[in-house]
Amino acid sequence: MIRPSFTGKAMQLLIHLILLAFALSCVYPFILTFMASISSEKSILDDGYQLVPKAFSLLAYRVVFNDQFIYSGYAVSIIVTVAGTAMSLLICGMAGYAMSNKRVKYRNGIAVYFYLTMVFGAGLLPWYLVCTQYLHLQNTIMALILPGLVSPFNVFLMRNYFASIPSELVESAEIDGCGVMRTFLQIIIPLSLPMMATITLFIGLAYWNDWASALWFIDNPKLYPLQYMLYRIESLMSFVKQYGSMGDMTMPTETFQLATLFVTIGPIIFLYPFIQRYFVKGIMIGAVKG
């Protein structure tokens, strides 16, 4: 519906300027990073970061792609994201579904069990000690996946959504001989796709962007996920120095950082146009309901 707007031309212009300024500030760092990463090291040291590079050089990218850790970082991040998201979705979804069924007698007690963990935590230290002293998670890829698998918040989100699906559907499926798990996978999930897609994207993003777990548990550079590798970039710089000493060029330390930064955010930028609207849709569904 077209809403009659009473704002004059000048007002419209002002609004556009404000929004444009903020919108541009949101993409500016990406463009600047990219432009600076393809500049020559010398021009950055002399003039600082420039939107239009004065001297062009791809040396930093050559160094980045020569660095084995970029590849292992990608591998770790992809494995953690895919495995973590799939498992988390299944585990949280199953729990949420079981809790949404009114026939399950202890579902409220179990909901309390879930929700208590949302309001009361033992604190970082006991958690850290359990993970390292008793589960021996340090320096395993499981340390990056396991602790984040169950999010009570997501469980409750799913439970509420599943509860809004008419229970007659479940009953008729069971009369037709469908097992509980099959009802869940073949009837409930397809009916909940918009919500599931949104939660999938949220969990996936959380795993992809997670670096604190690596900060706690990972010492082995081969197991660094991409984000943590980016954080620890100074420690990878020794590689650059080695590389630089072979030629007679300036060592690309500044541009190496920026090139790595760009390589790690690259996938998000390329996926962004495709996944962004699902996010918006999902948030809209959640917001309008509330």
Partner: protein, 323 residues
């Protein structure tokens, strides 16, 4: 036992016992559901409940040999923290930074949502919205690198280029503590504004257009309509979003803050929050007892805040309460 007896009785009489179901009967009837919950229950037990007895460390002089059987020291750990200068500084910084997160994110995203709603060009609206949402997808590390490398780096960052443009001496950011709390707050607002903008915009889109038409027939201008119709109708959403984030107030925002400040002690005065303090203590293998005491303090206050804010949400709008 009782369950089995009742079930037998029920089987014999061919009726379903409605009044009291025993545990075993319930398990027999609905075991597939309980199996479905099991993985989540186990994982939560391991990662949330198992650490809980570890709170005991807060009352111990912890060492790695005796682990949880270390000697007890009573409330000494708490005394040590609360009498040190850290207690006030970290608590103040945590609350200061989080309050500002909440205030500015709400204000900015509310403003943007209202402005976006005023835009007539559909294409432009989409364009702004898409770009605004982009920072939300970045990790704390990437935001941290943007802030420390691109904008506030000492020699060639954008901030210093601007400072130089105005003919001032470049600022050595890494040694100037005062602005960093605001830099962190700015980075957070920059990252989070797009997301809340979309939530508010969704709420605005859900408002019945007839209200605005009626108001305009009565001669209300756009600004009056916003003040008298839009804002009152947005208030429940604003309040709920605010109350929900109050719960996490003592938990800080470890990821962003640590990736920006790291271990630069010169900046701690204005940026050291409880989480970063605990982290340093754990990684530095310093005084574990004190660290656990701080963690417990954080949990208890967090619990009170979550519980209190939820009670408020419940009072205001029952459907939006978390539990």
């Amino acid at each position: 036992m009782q369950g089995i007896a009742e079930k037998k009785k029920a089987d014999m009489q061919g009726i379903v016992v409605k009044k009291r179901h025993g545990f075993l009967l319930e398990m027999k009837r609905n075991y597939p559901y309980y199996f479905m919950m099991l993985p989540a229950i186990i994982l939560l037990f391991v990662f949330a409940y198992l650490p809980m007895p570890g709170i005991i460390i807060a009352f111990q002089d912890f060492n790695f040999v005796d682990k949880f059987k270390s000697p007890f020291v009573g409330l000494d750990n708490f005394k040590f923290y609360f009498t040190s200068s850290y207690a006030f500084r970290t608590t103040f910084n945590t609350i200061f930074i989080n309050m500002n997160y909440l205030f500015w994110t709400t204000l900015v995203s509310l403003l943007f949502a209202i402005l976006l709603n005023e835009i007539r060009l559909k294409l432009a609206k989409k364009f702004y919205q898409n770009l605004m949402f982009l920072p939300f997808f970045l990790s704390a590390v990437v935001v941290g690198k943007f802030v420390t490398e691109l904008v506030f780096s000492d020699h060639n960052g954008v901030a210093n280029q601007i400072v130089k443009l105005f003919g001032h001496e470049p600022i050595v950011w890494s040694q100037t503590a005062a602005p960093w709390a605001w830099i962190i707050i700015g980075a957070h607002v920059w990252q989070a504004a797009g997301y809340s903008t979309i939530i508010y915009l969704a709420t605005i889109t859900g408002i019945d257009d007839h209200l605005f038409e009626a108001a305009s027939l009565d001669g209300a201008n756009r600004w009056q309509q916003i003040r008298q119709i839009l804002l009152p109708l947005l208030t429940p959403m604003i309040i709920i979003l605010c109350l929900l984030s109050i719960g996490g107030m003592l938990r800080g925002d470890f990821g962003t803050i640590y990736s920006i400040i790291g271990d630069n002690g010169l900046l701690f005065e204005h940026t050291d929050v409880i989480d970063t303090y605990v982290f340093r203590a754990i990684k530095g293998a310093a005084d574990f007892g004190t660290t656990a005491a701080v963690g417990l303090y954080q949990s208890v206050v967090g619990f009170i805040l979550v519980y209190g804010s939820n009670a408020l949400v419940k009072k205001y709008d029952k459907d939006s309460a978390l539990f």
